[in-house]
Symmetry: C2
DNA sequence: CCCTCATGTATACACTCGTAGACATAACTT
DNA sequence: AAGTTATGTCTACGAGTGTATACATGAGGG
């Protein structure tokens, strides 16, 4: 029985947003309800709608917040392929339990409304950033292809749970992924 | 007003199964209900449970049936990379509307029960087949990696709807994908 | 022809969903 | 200290979920 938190609009709003990031990332847009998100934040379901308009409105802000901070991409073009490969393998390890935007995307994409929000967020944040770091010819397509590889690997390893990928030697996975990213980002 | 179809257990069961393939592939496991599937098949929701035990039971048979017939993979090792790349780009074209097992996987994976069924189906059918066609060292891992690339590309192009990938030159996409698959399957 | 069983339907239950409207209370202003 | 407004909760509604039980009906065998 914790003391009833002082009334603070911005703090409450932030708590709901963080609970939304966690809930949507772990269970996907259709896999969690506003009541459960609100309970994690310690408030009532209706406050979600008051601060974010609707479940969809909260999801849009969650996508925005989740894609804003970088988790996988580095800024150094020279070591981009290797760093990306290493970070990808590390963050998709069987016991890793991070709240990555890719998990948010993979688990929420089946809902058409969520997919549209995700598409906008990806093109605004992620593709643009890859393009900054590796501005080659046909850069946008290659950035999108690199994202495809990242998303596919993430899906198979963490959402599907492929035993082949989870039982593989991690150093070998990093080497293979580095080859793929080098091909895509430094043609 | 069609004539009320003659009573035929196997035909009805097959109709439900085909409606299940269509429904689960288009909307994902959580995105469609048994009533809608039953209506597509022209029967009542309860018949789904009578013939398949439950929604989850129907999904398991849908996965089995959908992964049984090959849509993307060819059998000739020599042209595997190119054929795979070409088929992938063709079947993920913006106006293509096929019922591919990859769409079934991408849209149903967020549900944990569905993910487990999918994982088993993938390892039974798809990975094994890739391994047959391209038996290299570390074959299982490389087959799984190739599947990751296919799944990621499918996700970005058809589920997310990346404008970069959908606006790109298709021949260029095929060339890039062929390079990736060659790297993975003919190291 | 009629009886029987397989095939299909109708109803209902217990639950969850997103969200709307009315109400309560804490905190700041005057 | 009193009033006002922002902040949060309670109740409820209409719709949809998967599925269990009871009932209806058509088709084949005696």
């Amino acid at each position: 029985m914790t003391a009833p938190r002082r009334r603070d609009a911005v703090a409450t709003r932030d708590a709901i947003l963080r609970a939304g990031v966690e809930g949507f990332t772990r269970h996907g847009y259709d896999g969690i309800g506003v009541r459960e998100i609100a309970q994690t934040a310690g408030v009532t379901a209706m406050l979600v709608n008051r601060y974010f308009g609707s479940k969809e409105g909260l999801f849009a802000e969650v996508v925005e917040a989740s894609m804003a901070d970088r988790t996988v991409l580095t800024d150094d073009p020279a070591t981009l392929a290797r760093d990306l490969a290493a970070a990808l393998v590390r963050r998709t390890a069987p016991h890793a339990d991070d709240l990555d935007p890719f998990l948010l995307m993979l688990r929420s994409a089946p809902n058409p409304r969520a997919a549209e929000i995700l598409r906008a967020g990806i093109e605004k944040h992620v593709e643009a950033h890859v393009l900054d770091v590796a501005p080659e010819s046909r850069g946008t397509e290659r950035a999108a292809m690199a994202l495809s590889v990242v998303a596919g690997f993430w899906l198979m390893r963490k959402v599907i749970g492929s035993t082949s990928l989870n039982g593989a030697d991690e150093a070998a996975l990093v080497r293979t992924l580095e080859q793929l990213f080098t091909l895509l980002l430094h043609p």
